[in-house]
């Protein structure tokens, strides 16, 4: 951990006063519903959750155990919400919110958790540990104790409308040159990357990292939409699927970050909001945004993967089934699969482009987190832990013997790219849409597809 950052955090913690602890407690308690209270009454500290956590598997230490992290939260719940915990704190393991506990919360609840939910699935009692950790993170957020890298991403997103701080002019310029690229790729001068088209069937939204670092993944989807003759559009103003407010458990901020896409859907009157390959973006917009905004959406929210699977099944796009000669394996992003419920579509898609598809073990909702979720990629202070915890994923990849790792989430792509380098895996990393775009069979005389892989 960076010494300057640690000193800054410690300074902040040392200046906290009793009214700050009260504020933190209120922020924590306002997140507690009957569901969360049930969970907080249920843990029996059996420890069976330990090996479900990639942090624990990497470090084998107490603080990486999900039960330890949960216990940090339960101590507070018991102290302030139970007679026994309040009056017999030592006996029942209750604890007041004070400086030391705040320090532990920051280091363990931000620093040793990617909110992946594997512990939730494996808990004897079925406790939603990641969402309880989010409740505690909300308390830390109320005291302005969110690790700086994560907080600055949120601040940029609130200020500029996207987490990369891309200006509208830069966004439109990016789309312009992508349009030129698309024209050449599909050999059609009339092809457009539509912008602000009212009443389009689909409003497509991306992870701004794509515009900044992976523009070809935007091109890939545009090509797929072209091949499917889809009626779609981007918004010039609101196109960010990400929601780092989700990671800090601050539902008000998360709601503010989720609203722009809803606003664009209402303004442009599109039918479906289609989200690019982003795990937490899918969970946030598909499952959580309605709750943050306290209203039902009158449009469907889907992952682009669902659309692509549909295009294939209905014959709207055709793929070269032997395009990929190399072995492909699939990473299951936690927020897309375990929390999102999009499990089989990506597998179906990959089986259309290769006969060499190998599953990781375990897979689907039991797959391991890559280590990059929960805001970890933004929190540079915990980069070493993030890489170390990714050892589990690296080993999974190695065991498949695959040449290409398909990761339907740009955060996962970033993390696995780093793991690839750190653990010398020697693999290529691609998104599902990039794979599909490469294998597309377009109706043209000459094929301008890259050679088979």
């Amino acid at each position: 951990m960076n010494k300057t950052q640690t000193d800054t955090i410690n300074k902040k913690i040392n200046t906290l006063k009793p009214k700050d602890f009260t504020k933190a407690l209120q922020a924590f308690q306002e997140k507690i519903t009957s569901e969360y209270a049930t969970y907080l009454n249920s843990c029996v500290r059996c420890g069976l959750c330990a090996e479900s956590c990639h942090y624990f598997l990497a470090y084998k230490d107490l603080k990486s155990m999900p039960a330890y992290k949960l216990n940090l939260i339960m101590k507070v719940f018991k102290k302030y919400s139970s007679f026994a915990g309040n009056h017999f704190s030592f006996w029942f393991g209750a604890k007041e919110i004070k400086h030391h506990l705040i320090q532990e919360w920051i280091d363990n609840l931000f620093g040793r958790c990617s909110l992946c939910g594997r512990c939730f699935l494996n808990c004897t009692m079925g406790i939603n540990i990641p969402y309880l950790i989010r409740a505690a993170r909300n308390a830390l957020s109320s005291l302005d104790l969110v690790p700086p890298g994560l907080q600055s991403t949120i601040t940029i997103a609130l200020k500029t409308g996207n987490n990369m701080g891309i200006t509208t002019d830069d966004w439109i310029e990016t789309l312009d040159w992508l349009e030129d690229e698309l024209e050449q790729d599909v050999e059609d001068q009339n092809v457009k990357i539509p912008l602000d088209i009212p009443n389009a069937k689909i409003l497509y939204a991306i992870n701004p990292r794509e515009a900044m670092f992976f523009p070809l993944s935007i091109l890939a989807v545009a090509k797929i939409f072209y091949a499917a003759k889809e009626n779609w559009t981007f918004s010039s103003k609101n196109y960010d699927v990400t929601n780092y407010g989700f990671f800090i458990g601050d539902d008000k901020t998360a709601g503010k970050l989720a609203y722009p896409l809803v606003e664009s859907m209402e303004t442009l009157k599109c039918k479906d909001l289609i989200l690019s390959e982003c795990g937490h973006g899918f969970n946030s917009n598909r499952w959580e945004a309605s709750e943050w905004l306290s209203k039902k959406q009158n449009f469907d929210v889907k992952s682009i993967i669902q659309n692509v699977a549909e295009y294939i099944k209905t014959g709207r796009i055709k793929l070269d089934s032997s395009y990929y000669q190399k072995t492909l394996t699939l990473h299951d992003p936690c927020n897309l699969v375990r929390f999102g419920g999009i499990v089989e579509e990506q597998r179906f898609i990959l089986r259309q482009v290769t006969n060499n598809f190998v599953e990781m073990s375990p897979n689907r909702e039991n797959n391991f987190c890559c280590g990059g979720g929960g805001g970890q990629l933004a929190m540079t202070r915990y980069a070493d832990r993030r890489r170390k915890s990714g050892e589990v994923k690296a080993e999974q990849i190695r065991r498949t013997g695959a040449d290409i790792v398909v990761a339907p989430c740009h955060n996962c792509v970033d993390q696995i790219t780093e793991l690839n380098k750190h653990y010398q895996l020697g693999v290529e990393i691609k998104t599902v849409c990039e794979i599909v775009a490469d294998a597309l069979i377009l109706n043209r005389n000459t094929s301008s597809r890259p050679g088979k892989k």
Binding site: I32, T33, S34, E35, Y36, A37, T38, Y39, N41, S42, C43, V44, R45, C46, G47, L48, C49, A50, E51, S52, L62, M65, A67, Y68, N71, A84, F90, W91, F92, G93, F120, L121, N122, C123, T124, M125, G126, I127, N128, R286, W287, E288, A289, S290, E291, L293, S294, K295, K296, Q297, D300, V337, R338, F339, G340, G341, V343, P362, E365, N366
Partner: protein
Amino acid sequence: MQEYFRYGVIFAFFISFFSLSFLVLRTFRFGKKTLYSKPQGKPIKGICYAFGQGMMPWAKESVLKHIPTFISGILYHIGIFLALFYTLSLAIPFNIPGQFLFSFQIIFLMAVICGLFLLLRRIIKTTLWQISCPDDFVSNILVNLFLVMALIDVSITKFRAYLFIAVILMLLYIPFGKIRHCFFFFFSRVFFGHFFGRRGVLS
């Protein structure tokens, strides 16, 4: 004297039941979250999964990796519920046919062994020891004591008063400590199943 303990057992059952019910009802005051997002699957499917397949070694990794602990837990809890039933039959009283008593002995013996195994596990495994508080140990000890007395009673009835004392202590302690999970477990699994079932995750 034993007669007073008998009434004490019935009284303790009621106190425990109503205290636990009160604790559960008290969680309701935290409020229910209205869910606005469109479901993808059926919550009831998730709930059925949570209580069935979702607890089995072939579906749940934590169980598969800890088969001895899983089996110990199952035998322990079967023993506990049977011992409670047995003790209630003595307190109310109602008759349990004699041919069952030998099976009760076996089950109570297995439960005692499993209870001791789980207690030792908590003491020996450093990580478990470090996340435990006195309640974790005392809860286990009280239940084990009750099981031992049930095992003794089903064999020799002259220590029945001690069985009644053991169960009274345990029942009165339940609402305070972690043994409250005997009620909360069911609600927790319902919420778990509802969450994943609604999102269409669990097959």
